[in-house]
Point group: C2
Chain length 403, copies 2
């Protein structure tokens, strides 16, 4: 049901020198599915990350944030259990997983970043995960991104990966990434889980800066259901096995490529949003600040009434005006607001445009992808958010998730 989204072609995912990936079926929650990923990183790899702002930050995220201070040598990711809302016991369990991976890879537990995704508030089955580690390690290889993307899926219907190559002053660099996410998507730092790696050599502070900027233009600009996850994490890794990125120009090239990969992954999450049948770009223009444009865009993108109208291809566009009106923009003059559906002018000066015909609205909304564009006419700022519709399947998936 994903909207214009296909599983990645393994042949088009460039391996990243210094990054080996191995997966296993550990039976964390269900048997016979890939649910454990171990990533081994070359010595000297720099790492950067942005994490959920949810106060119920999951145990693995807390541990990963702490371990980021060290020289990172491995990641370990399980699906089926989020190890969130699990208190101090959850922290111990996350650390046990790091210890098992560290012992197998001969590094310190503090050099391993753990990540979990799945059901919240249930104890992490450490024994099963630890038992699965050797199988994942046997599987370690550089040309394994596609399988890794599959291993981190939960309610995702399609694996998500993207890869680009760019030319720097001293040679060709590769940027490859994977992500997972489908529900509980309203990232407030990054999506559920996103990992992007490059073989470029990048200093840590430069990597952190480009990670944050990439997140803002990708994972921080999407929403499926407005629920900010406890486990959001977006990690960028630079192994330094390829060309050095130190000049301003090279750094800009890599940053752009990282953002490009992150954007493809973030949009893939929306295309595969739970129950999604439409991929909708919400663009708000001519506001006073990017912040107020984002407020309006999210009000539209979160409104269940707007989202069900998307699902029905029903241009019940007054619902969009209502959402703009309650978005909380102080002093908004509604008599200046224009609204477009793709190129069709629907509302002009806060009211229905005289030339607008219902058939035009229906035609635009019947497409699997379209753009809602609100023009506030009070400034020069703009913002874009990507979202999906609210369908019967969203309710079905979430009512049945644990059964």
């Amino acid at each position: 049901m994903a909207v214009n989204l296909q599983a990645p072609d393994a042949a088009q995912l460039y391996p990243v020198a210094g990054v080996e990936l191995g997966v296993a079926m550990a039976g964390v929650r269900k048997a016979n599915r890939k649910d454990l990923l171990v990533v081994r990183l070359a010595p000297g790899t720099t790492a950067a990350g942005v994490f959920t702002k949810n106060r119920f930050c999951a145990a693995p995220v807390q541990v990963a944030k702490k371990h980021m201070a060290n020289s990172v040598r491995a990641l370990v990711v399980n699906t089926g259990n989020a190890n969130a809302g699990t208190g101090s016991d959850g922290l111990k369990r996350a650390f046990s997983v790091c210890s098992a991976v560290a012992a197998a890879l001969r590094c310190r537990p503090g050099q391993v970043l753990p990540f979990s995704t799945g059901v919240i508030m249930e104890p992490l089955p450490v024994d099963r995960i630890v038992a699965g580690v050797p199988q994942a390690i046997t599987d370690l290889r550089e040309a394994n991104w596609s399988s890794a993307a599959e291993a981190i899926m939960t309610t995702d219907t399609v694996a998500k990966a993207a890869s680009v190559q760019v030319r720097l002053g001293s040679g060709r660099a590769t940027i490859t990434g994977i992500a997972k996410g489908s529900g509980m998507i309203r990232p407030d730092m990054a999506t559920m889980l996103g990992f992007v790696a490059t073989d470029a050599k990048i200093a840590r502070h430069a990597l952190q800066k480009m990670t944050r900027e990439a997140a803002d233009q990708s994972f921080n600009a999407i929403t499926v259901d407005g629920d900010t996850s406890t486990n959001d994490a977006f990690i960028c890794l630079a192994t330094g096995k390829g060309p050095v990125a130190r000049s301003k120009k090279d750094l800009a090239i890599v940053a752009h490529a990282v953002t490009q990969v992150a954007k493809i992954l973030a949009q893939a999450i929306v295309r595969d949003g739970e129950g999604a049948t439409k991929f909708v770009t919400v663009r708000v223009e001519r506001g006073r600040s990017p912040a107020e444009c984002r407020k309006v865009a999210y009000a539209i993108a979160h409104s269940p009434l707007v989202k069900t109208a998307f699902f029905a291809s029903d241009p019940n566009l007054g619902r969009i005006l209502a959402a703009i009106g309650y978005a909380g923009v102080a002093g908004l003059d509604t008599s200046k607001v224009d609204l477009y559906l793709d190129e069709v002018l629907v509302a002009k000066g806060g009211g229905r445009h005289a030339g607008y015909r219902e058939e035009q609205g229906v035609a635009a909304m019947k497409k699997p992808e379209f753009t809602v564009r609100a023009v506030l006419n009070r400034g020069r700022a703009a913002a874009t958010v990507w979202t999906c519709d609210l369908s019967f399947d969203y309710v079905r998936i979430n009512a049945e998730y644990r059964s």
Copy 2:
């Protein structure tokens, strides 16, 4: 499908001296349904109101707010069309309706408050409404509240009315009210439409004060879908045909009764929320301020993941912790948060309570009504919000609304 909600028994709705109600089938949107209500008020009636904060405030609401400054003699309410997002033409149409009612009742147009509810951004069919006015006026009588409650329904499945009598120093006073609302419910002043009248004689400023307080404890504490309507209005009327309420004690008695009626009406809206199968009280306790408690309560009540879990009777309670975590309470120490489902302690100190058994959660959630109680343990404030679940029918109703 409404949750524990029955249509009002006409015999139990006390008429209010000085308030006559008349309905008509004007064919605003559909034929053969009551869709027009005219209310005639005795001279000397005081009126108070709270209105939507949506910047796309509907034309009739703008007109009503202005006319509130005058001595109000009538209300006119149509369903089927909200006359919102209609610009200056909408204002003219709302005023035309007032003029027609004023001519028929021999008062000035400025003494008529207009209200509309229904589809947004479509022109109000003034001709049909004006043509229906004489029929509504012929129907005017005091013992007509039940029929009036039916005339203002849109996607409501059950009419909503409540009535109480209280004893004041100088005699018995009656308080009777009606409301409508089912979707686009996240009042930010009052619900879609609520009208409460009393025969007590109450000075205007005292009436305005009790109206605002009643709204805060009723219509401003409910949510169905988080969408704040363009047409919200809650109006209180005091005809002065009954006892005088001037002493502090009498005013407190009337204020309490108005709040009581408003609360019944507000809860009725949630019980009849679009697609609702559960009526859920969300109570947040021991926060630092009522505002932060409300933030947390609304985060829980708006989360589509929490609401679909309610629908499924699935105690997937980590979703509630996640919502608490992203509610935006600065400095919240999650290791102090306790969570109850009715009397069952589910999470203690931010993690699953050791003694909690899944069967207990399922048993509580299978009931049509239950309470989610989050205890923040950081202060003395509390807040309550009422909401419903998110079901297949919510999507069906809103995907099909206009077809």
